[in-house]
C-alpha cells in the first residue's frame, strides 16, 4: 500500500504510519467536549476510523478499506492523550457495544462498528457511500 506520496503536501504535521495512510496529530483540542471533537474530526475527512493500535479488529477494518483502494484517516486512540475520553464518547455513540473501536465515519456520517461496516459492504451500500464522500474514484 503505497499511499504516502499522496499526502506529502499536507499542511498539518502528520505521522506516516506503516499503513501509509494519513494519521494526523490531534493538537490543541484539549478541553473540548470529546463527542464534539469526534464529530468534528469525523467531518474533516472522507473516511475516518477511530482505532487502537493493538486492536486486531481495527486492523481488519483498516485492511478492508485499504483493500478497496480507500485511504481512511485513522486516529489511534492509544496514542492520543485524550484517547480515553474519546473512547468513552464512542461507547456512548455506539450504544450497547463491547468495544469502542473500531468506529467508522464516512462523509461525516456514522457508519458504526465492524459488523455494520461489513453488512453495508455486503448489501452494496458501502461503495456508493464512499463514492459520494469522494473516497473512491471508479
Amino acid at each position: 500500500m503505497q499511499y504516502q506520496y499522496q499526502y506529502q503536501h499536507q499542511q498539518q504535521a502528520a505521522e506516516s504510519s506503516s499503513w501509509g495512510y494519513y494519521v494526523p496529530a490531534v493538537r490543541g483540542m484539549i478541553g473540548s467536549d470529546p463527542l464534539e471533537r469526534v464529530v468534528r474530526l469525523a467531518s474533516e475527512s472522507a473516511v475516518v476510523i477511530f482505532s487502537i493500535s493493538s486492536c486486531c479488529m481495527c486492523h481488519a477494518v483498516k485492511s478492508l478499506f485499504c483493500g478497496m483502494g480507500v485511504n481512511p484517516t485513522v486516529y489511534e486512540l492509544d496514542q492520543d492523550p485524550t484517547g480515553k475520553e474519546i473512547e468513552r464518547a464512542l461507547m456512548r455513540l455506539l450504544g450497547n457495544y463491547s468495544s469502542p473501536v473500531p468506529v467508522v465515519f464516512i462523509g461525516g456520517k456514522l457508519i458504526g462498528a465492524m459488523d455494520r461496516v461489513m453488512a453495508s459492504h455486503i448489501n452494496g451500500t458501502l461503495v456508493p457511500l464512499l463514492k459520494e464522500a469522494g473516497a473512491l474514484w471508479l
Partner: protein, 455 residues
C-alpha cells in the same frame, strides 16, 4: 461304546442337582444302599450310565468303568467317603479304579483335585474348553441321573466302595470337595457375568449399527470423540447435537424444496419454502453464536463438520465467496442487473473475508508476541508478575477470537440474505439446492475417504 438309551440327553451336562452335597453322613447314607453294588464285575449298568462326554473314551476294564473326557486331566485321587476312588489322569482317561460304584439314581462325579476344568461348553455354544476353572462335579443323590440341563462336564465314575479309607481321607476329601464347590460356584458366576457382558455388547452393537445406518443415509460423520478440554466440553457437545438436529431438519426442508421445484410449483408457494430455508439458516447462525460463546475453540476447530468440509473451512464455516463462485455457473439465466449484483456480492464478500483473515493473522502474531515476550527457555526464571501480566493480556486477545468468529458468521449470513434479495424466487430456490448439493457431496466425499480400503 455303550448306548445310553435311558439318557435323554447324551451330551454332557452337569446339573447342580447332581452335585454332591457335602457331608460325610450323607455320603454315608447315600452309599449305604449301594452296598449291593459292590460287585466288581457286574456293577456297571448301562442304563443311566453317566457318560457325559461326547468325546469321552471308555475303557471297560474288568469290572471297571472309566468315563473320562479326552481332554480331561486329573492328577488327583479322590477319596470319597464311601471308599477310595482313584482317578488317574491320563490322556485316554482311563479310570483306574479297583471298583466302581454305580447307582441308577445318581450321577457320579469326581472332584478335580487339581482344579482342572472339565467344562465343555461346546454343545451349548460356549466354547470354553480352557481348563481354568474348578468345577466341582458333585453328585446329587437325586434319582435324576439323566443329567437334564446340566452343565457340561466330564464326570468320572467314582469307584468308591472301600469304606476302610473313609475316615482317613474324610477330612481331606471334605475340604477338597468344599473347595471344588466354591470353585464351581465362582465359575458359574463368571460364566453368568460373561454372558451378561456379551448380551450388553450385542445390544450396543445393534444400537451403533442403527446409528451408523442413519448417519450414513444423511452423509453425516458424527465425530464421536471429544476434544481434550472437557472443561468446555459441554458447549461443544451441546452444539454438536444441535447441529446434527439442524442438519436433519435442513435436509428435510431441502427435499421439500427440491420436489417443489421439480413439480413446478407456483412462485408464491415456492417463496414460502425458500423463506423457510432462509429462516432455518438464521437458526444455525443463532446456534453458532451460542456455541461460540460457549466454546470458541471448538467452533473454530470445525470438528462438528465432516473432514472434507473442514478442509475448505474458513473461520469456522463455509467461505461465502466460494459458494458464490460455485453458484455462478448454475444460476442462468440472469438479467444484467442480477449479474452485476452477483458479481459485486462476490467481490465484496471476498474483500470482507480477506479483511477478517488479515485481522486473524494480526491476532495470531500479537498472541505470539505476547506469549513469548517474557523470557522463555532455561534462562526464563521470569518474574511471576510479568508472567501473569502477559497471560492476562493474552487472555484478552483470545477473547477477540469470539468477535472474529462472530463477524465471520455474520458475513456468511448476510451473503446468503443478499443473494436471496438479488435473485428471483425460482432462482433462489435453485441456488439453495445447489449449495446443499455441494455440501452434501463434500460430506459424501468424507465418508468415502474414511471408508476407503487401505493396504
Amino acid at each position: 461304546m455303550q448306548s445310553f438309551k435311558s439318557l435323554p440327553h447324551p451330551e454332557m451336562y452337569c446339573h447342580s442337582s447332581f452335585f454332591l452335597r457335602e457331608d460325610g453322613s450323607r455320603s454315608q447314607t447315600r452309599f449305604a444302599d449301594l452296598g449291593d453294588l459292590d460287585q466288581p464285575a457286574s456293577a456297571f449298568h448301562h442304563d443311566g450310565a453317566v457318560d457325559l462326554s461326547p468325546s469321552s473314551m471308555f475303557s471297560l476294564k474288568s469290572g471297571n468303568v472309566a468315563v473320562l473326557s479326552g481332554d480331561l486331566h486329573y492328577d488327583a485321587v479322590l477319596n470319597t467317603s464311601i471308599g477310595s476312588v482313584e482317578i488317574a489322569t491320563t490322556g485316554t482317561g482311563c479310570l483306574d479304579t479297583g471298583q466302581y460304584m454305580y447307582h441308577k439314581g445318581a450321577a457320579i462325579a469326581s472332584s478335580l483335585g487339581n482344579g482342572h476344568c472339565i467344562e465343555n461348553w461346546g454343545d451349548s455354544g460356549m466354547a470354553d474348553n480352557s481348563q481354568q476353572t474348578d468345577t466341582s462335579t458333585d453328585v446329587d443323590t437325586d434319582d435324576r441321573n439323566q443329567l437334564h440341563g446340566v452343565q457340561h462336564c466330564t464326570i468320572a465314575v467314582v469307584d468308591s466302595l472301600e469304606k476302610s479309607k473313609a475316615k482317613a481321607g474324610d477330612q481331606k476329601t471334605l475340604r477338597r470337595l468344599a473347595q471344588n464347590r466354591e470353585a464351581a460356584r465362582k465359575s458359574r458366576l463368571r460364566k453368568k457375568a460373561y454372558v451378561q457382558q456379551l448380551e450388553n455388547s450385542r445390544h450396543r452393537l445393534t444400537q451403533l449399527e442403527q446409528e451408523l445406518q442413519r448417519a450414513r443415509q444423511q452423509g453425516i460423520f458424527i465425530a464421536t470423540g471429544f476434544s481434550g478440554d472437557h472443561g468446555s466440553g459441554n458447549g461443544a457437545v451441546t452444539f454438536d447435537t444441535d447441529y446434527a438436529r439442524w442438519l436433519e431438519e435442513h435436509q428435510r426442508l431441502i427435499s421439500d424444496l427440491r420436489s417443489a421445484v421439480n413439480s413446478h410449483m407456483s412462485d408464491n408457494e415456492l417463496h414460502l419454502l425458500v423463506d423457510g430455508v432462509m429462516a432455518h439458516y438464521d437458526e444455525i447462525f443463532r446456534l453458532k453464536s451460542i456455541g461460540t460463546k460457549a466454546d470458541v475453540f471448538h467452533m473454530l476447530s470445525g470438528m462438528w463438520m465432516t473432514p472434507a468440509e473442514r478442509c475448505f473451512m474458513w473461520l469456522g464455516g463455509f467461505r461465502s465467496s466460494e459458494l458464490l463462485k460455485i453458484l455462478g455457473n448454475h444460476l442462468e439465466p440472469l438479467t444484467d442487473q442480477q449479474l452485476v449484483g452477483i458479481c459485486n456480492l462476490q467481490q465484496s464478500s471476498q474483500q470482507a473475508e480477506d479483511a477478517l483473515s488479515q485481522g486473524m493473522e494480526a491476532l495470531q502474531q500479537s498472541l505470539v508476541d505476547t506469549v513469548s515476550s517474557t523470557s522463555l527457555g532455561p534462562a526464563g526464571s521470569g518474574k511471576v508478575a510479568d508472567y501473569m501480566g502477559q497471560m492476562a493480556i493474552a487472555m484478552g486477545k483470545l477473547a477477540t477470537l469470539e468477535n472474529f468468529l462472530h463477524q465471520a458468521d455474520l458475513l456468511r449470513q448476510q451473503t446468503l440474505q443478499q443473494m436471496n434479495r438479488i435473485l428471483t424466487t425460482r432462482q433462489a430456490a435453485r441456488a439453495l439446492l445447489v449449495i446443499n448439493d455441494y455440501t452434501s457431496r463434500l460430506r459424501a466425499l468424507s465418508s468415502l475417504w474414511l471408508a476407503r480400503p487401505r493396504d
